[in-house]
Symmetry: C2
Subunit: 120 residues, 2 copies
Amino acid sequence: MTNSNAPDAPDAVDPAVVAELGRLRDSIDNIDAAVVHMLAERFKCTQQVGHLKAEHALPPADPAREARQISRLRELAENAKLDPAFAEKLLNFIISEVIRHHEQIAAGNSSPSSSSPSGV
Amino acid sequence: MTNSNAPDAPDAVDPAVVAELGRLRDSIDNIDAAVVHMLAERFKCTQQVGHLKAEHALPPADPAREARQISRLRELAENAKLDPAFAEKLLNFIISEVIRHHEQIAAGNSSPSSSSPSGV
């Protein structure tokens, strides 16, 4: 079997299990590609937000907006049967990256160009 | 302005800036909803992987598979102009959650049902 998503010791495992694992991993890989592309779009938006905030001297963080985002995402997660605590941790993880970028922009370390891989 | 995505002190800010910030935040909220739903699907897949692994006594973690995922996602991120280091950190964050679930399943603390919010 040449499927790179098969487990690494397939001879010890039922071929039907190997095939099923490969099928699930293909789906996981498709979803990960979609998430990466959605997050690339998200960072394009937050990059614009960062520039707007820097130009108009608005603070990089906005606790009231973040509280609304967290409460909305927890509800969406619950409806989608995703652990709301995980969704909240994930959003905090993304927001902390965004704030780091906003601070860089505000510090004039500005405009990581869209051609730079670090330009999230 | 009643837009809940407007910044919290709009009277100090040019209304055009407030409107632009609201527009960008609406896009961010749409993307976040899409990501939450993609991740709910992803956890449905990894949940099935966890059960397969537990039934066939496969180890919860698979370092070779994870190394392939990380290298592929870094490349996808780079092409999408997303920071590859961020993509890698994000995948590690998600994988550590998945492994926690696989260990719970393997420990027989099994089958968080799909109706349970913690059943990721």
